[in-house]
């Protein structure tokens, strides 16, 4: 039995330890905002925060997470009021939207380390794939979110 805290709620999960966190979140707990895109840590669609760090949940087995604190897109805010979410809306970023939970979670963690990001910082650290090609607006939204967080 593994105990994890997801968005402030304790969950006890009884499942094979090699099961990736992604499938525990989606199929067992029922939080489907975190997406499956590749399963091999390449795309970032499954990004969540584990103990405050952005991780690709498709490649983190549940067995190593006993006692961990997990934040998913559903737990970021109750009303889409997080500055990153606001910036995403203001810049009209999402197209199909499927990658965007991961993009947002990656950005939230990134801005903690880079409160004044340059484009080079963004390029080096936000490596999630967006097949719809929303990068133009995504980049603008990251800068806008950084500004909002300072305001």
């Amino acid at each position: 039995m593994i105990t994890i805290d997801v968005n402030g709620t304790q969950h006890q999960v009884d499942i094979e330890p090699d099961t990736p966190l992604l499938w525990v979140l989606r199929d067992v707990i029922g939080l489907t905002g975190t997406k499956f895109g590749c399963g091999i840590a390449e795309c970032g669609a499954c990004t969540v925060h584990i103990n405050g760090r952005a991780m690709r949940s498709c490649s983190v087995p549940i067995g190593v997470l006993d006692g961990a604190t997990i934040l998913t897109i559903e737990g970021l805010s109750s009303d889409a009021s997080h500055p990153v979410q606001k910036a995403w809306v203001a810049e009209d970023v999402p197209q199909c939207g499927y990658c965007q939970s991961g993009q947002i979670m990656a950005t939230v963690a990134f801005l903690k380390d880079f409160p004044n990001p340059t484009d080079a910082d963004i390029n080096a650290n936000i490596t999630n794939i967006c097949r719809c090609g929303t990068y133009e607006r995504l980049r603008r939204a990251i800068h806008r979110a950084a500004d909002l967080m300072k305001a």
């Binding site: 968005n7 709620t9 304790q10 969950h11 006890q12 999960v13 009884d14 499942i15 099961t19 499938w23 199929d27 067992v28 707990i29 029922g30 939080l31 489907t32 905002g33 975190t34 997406k35 499956f36 895109g37 590749c38 399963g39 091999i40 390449e42 795309c43 897109i73 559903e74 970021l76 805010s77 009303d79 889409a80 009021s81 979410q85 606001k86 995403w88 809306v89 009209d92 970023v93 999402p94 197209q95 199909c96 939207g97 499927y98 965007q100 939970s101 947002i104 963004i122 390029n123 080096a124 490596t127 794939i129 967006c130 097949r131 719809c132 090609g133 990068y135 133009e136 607006r137 980049r139």
Partner: protein, 744 residues
């Protein structure tokens, strides 16, 4: 069947309870599940309201007590529900199409909600929603007049209802901002108070619709209505479907397309907990597990199915490359265009001639959401949750697969996590229905990324040969083109293409607008066992690369500036000239960018929209290519939502740039080799150029598409820049296969 169970403690999460409640609600109300996701227009407060609607989607009849008709419902609080009969996969038509209705309805846009129209209702109500597909960038182009009519008719009925109530002539009443008013008496009444009376009114004649010059709302940029649901995990994709008692399926399909399952030994699964069943399909085997997709996938990995692959199992890419090349250079082909006398012009004395062969590989769609479908089959009723670009077609296919009548089938279209042409054929849905039939439980089938990439219906491989001639003054006198390419229509069994000419194959080649007196275009259709289909930009995805690169070659051979060379051949096309001039002006075409940098130009028209692009690139001494900027100008005639249109241009450029830089699916022993993003790389933020979109709209009768055209010229613009910088002509994609080191 195993009794394995997982314990999950919902703890104190309200969200969990809410989800559980929704599921129960679905079951109770679920006798008639159908219809749509509802989303709110406007910013966050609105979205929060809309979410309460979205939390119980798929309402059975997809009708409302406040229906004015199948398209519009107006509630007593004045909120307007507009039903949307296409598929939102990121291209923005869930915003653009309701805007068209609102233009005529004269309603307050902040009071509008949008909901998916029900394909089942369409079946029951005499095809009321018509063609429900989102393909070929046609949603706006094919729906505009109809949706204007829908809005205008509703407005006139609201006016008629008010006029009757006031006992005044309808002609004295006016509708604006969700209010009907009568100027002479100063009376006003809200739409919400008129809806039930308006629903009863039959107009003697349908009202005329507005001409574009009278639009007051269409053409004004609007934020996309689905965005608020896509920043907090609320948007429901097919893969997010959860049903009570649902089980999970993973599938292994014959690795060689067209092959069949020979045998599979189930013994390795004997003691594995949580496995429900192994299901054999004609060309695949599925493993069904109780609690997670992961378990199903792990179970599947233990199986070693045997396949019948036939002769296709010994083919490979080297062979295909040779076959397409041969077909482009020799043998017979159908003639799609023949102006003047190309042969004489090519052999005329004094003519300067050039020949080239351009080649492109198969490409995968790689939509971000892999193929998946959830099916609930209850004997006389079939419910399917699937991301589809054609819900009406999916309904027919589902009914045929299940042996049910169309009215017994409910397709619950969801937000689609990328389409790009892949999700107009729902192969995954057919499999999921067959699995559901075998196990008699609600089941969710998910393809892994590897399944999705290797069992795609690919962008066709092609070889395109060119011959050109210039006279002594550098003026073009002849252009000969032959394309050898896979037939999409034959592969999809839509059409046999008896005359050997497929519109997609010659798109942009046969109808190129350059005035060259002797022009001949030939088409050699040739398929392999690899299935091919529509892929964003379709024929233009390879043809624009080829023809715009060759035109660049001719310009350089003529010693002319590539912009001036093109412009001089466009005498009959002021719209092309406008696009060309706009992109050149905004890109500062021709200025020197300093060492290691250069510009390239390309222009193309497809799906009714002309797009011109200037690429600015840098190549390092080590040969690393970076596309720094794409300046883009577009003419679609008119545009409904300029914001959404610009986003489609940007997205189209990135999609095409990924293909140009990295895209290739190769075949070995009949099997597509690339399976995931490690071997089929994508442009990410670090590679994404700055993209500047400029409008060069020419109005008139033209309503061009948005989804397909943006990326058409990108590969050629980049490759023409590479030539300008290095003198190296890229004649095959992807660019990553070429060594650019030491050339800049």
């Amino acid at each position: 069947m195993s009794g394995h169970r997982n314990t999950v403690q919902a703890g104190k999460s309200n969200r969990q309870d809410a989800v559980a409640f929704t599921r129960r609600h679905f079951i109770i109300a679920g006798a008639t599940a159908a219809g749509g996701l509802a989303v709110g227009i406007g910013m966050l407060p609105r979205a929060a309201k809309a979410l309460t609607v979205a939390a119980k989607p798929w309402d059975g009849n997809a009708s409302s007590p406040y229906d004015l008709d199948a398209w519009i419902a107006i509630e007593p609080d004045d909120s307007v529900l507009i039903r949307y009969a296409r598929s939102e996969m990121g291209q923005g038509s869930m915003t653009a199409l309701p805007m068209i209705v609102a233009e005529e309805l004269q309603c307050d846009w902040s009071k509008v909600r949008v909901e998916y129209a029900s394909p089942n209702r369409s079946v029951r109500e005499n095809n009321v929603y018509g063609d429900m597909s989102s393909v070929g960038s046609h949603s706006v182009r094919d729906s505009r007049i109809k949706l204007q009519q829908v809005g205008a008719s509703a407005r006139e009925r609201l006016i008629a209802a008010a006029a009757a109530q006031w006992n005044v002539p309808a002609s004295e009443c006016k509708a604006a901002d969700s209010v009907v008013s009568h100027a002479a008496s100063g009376r006003r009444i809200n739409y919400g108070a008129l809806a039930s009376a308006a629903a009863q009114i039959k107009l003697a004649a349908e009202p005329a619709i507005k001409a574009p010059e009278h639009y007051t709302f269409i053409g004004k940029p609007q934020p996309r209505v689905d965005v608020p649901l896509k920043v907090n995990g609320a948007a429901q994709y097919a893969i997010d479907t959860r049903l009570p008692d649902m089980v999970y399926a993973a599938i292994a399909q014959c690795p060689v397309p067209g092959g069949t399952l020979a045998s599979v030994d189930e013994a390795p699964l004997k003691n594995m907990p949580g496995i429900v069943q192994v299901v054999r399909l004609k060309d695949a085997v599925a493993v069904v597990a109780t609690d997670t997709f992961w378990r199903a996938k792990q179970g599947l990995a233990r199986l070693h199915p045997e396949w019948n692959v036939g002769a296709a199992g010994s083919t490979d890419s080297a062979q295909f490359v040779k076959e397409y090349r041969d077909a482009a250079l020799s043998g017979t082909a159908a003639v799609a265009r023949n102006d003047g006398d190309v042969d004489s012009a090519l052999s005329a004395s004094g003519a300067k001639t050039l020949t080239s062969l351009y080649e492109v590989p198969y490409l995968a769609h790689a939509t971000m959401e892999p193929m998946n479908a959830t099916v609930h089959w209850q004997g006389d009723r079939l419910d399917v949750w699937v991301g589809t670009q054609a819900a009406d077609r999916a309904l027919k296919v589902a009914a045929e697969t299940a042996g049910l009548k169309p009215e017994q089938v409910y397709i619950h279209n969801t937000f689609v996590g990328g389409g790009f042409g892949r999700k107009s054929r729902n192969d995954e849905m057919v499999q999921a229905i067959e699995i559901a039939k075998a196990i008699n439980r609600p089941v969710k089938l998910v393809w892994t990324r590897e399944d999705d990439m290797r069992h795609d219906r690919f962008r066709p491989q092609a070889a395109i040969s060119f011959k050109g001639a210039l006279d002594a003054n550098g003026r073009p006198t002849a252009l000969y083109i032959r394309t050898a390419v896979g037939s999409i229509l034959r592969s999809l069994r839509i059409n046999k293409v008896e005359n050997g000419i497929e519109p997609m194959a010659i798109e942009g080649l046969a109808n190129n607008p350059y005035q060259i007196a002797n022009t001949k275009v030939e088409c050699a259709l040739k398929n392999t066992h690899i299935p091919v289909a529509f892929w964003r930009s379709v024929g233009a995805s390879q043809n624009a690369f080829a023809i715009e690169s060759f035109i660049d070659e001719m310009a350089h051979a003529a010693g002319r500036d590539p912009y001036q060379f093109r412009r001089a051949m466009l005498g009959s096309r002021p719209d092309w000239i406008k696009v060309l001039d706009t992109v050149v002006e905004n890109s500062n075409w021709g200025r020197s960018l300093g060492p290691g940098r250069a510009q390239g130009l390309a222009i193309h028209e497809c799906y009714g929209t002309i797009v011109g692009e200037v690429a600015e690139i840098t190549i390092s001494p080590q040969g690393a290519l970076k596309v720094d900027r794409i300046t883009l100008a577009a003419d679609s005639g008119h545009v409904v939502n300029p914001l959404g249109f610009a986003e489609q241009m940007e997205g189209g450029v990135i999609f095409a740039l990924t293909a140009a830089l990295y895209g290739k699916v190769t075949v070995k022993n009949g099997v597509p080799e690339q399976g995931n993003f490690d071997t089929y790389p994508m442009v990410r933020l670090a590679q994404a150029p700055k993209i500047d979109v400029h409008f060069a709209m020419t109005g008139g009768k033209k309503w061009g598409g948005a989804g397909e055209p943006g990326g058409a010229p990108t590969a050629a613009a980049v490759c023409n820049a590479i030539f300008a910088l290095t003198g190296k002509r890229i004649r095959s994609l992807p660019i990553m296969d070429h060594d650019l080191s030491g050339s800049a």
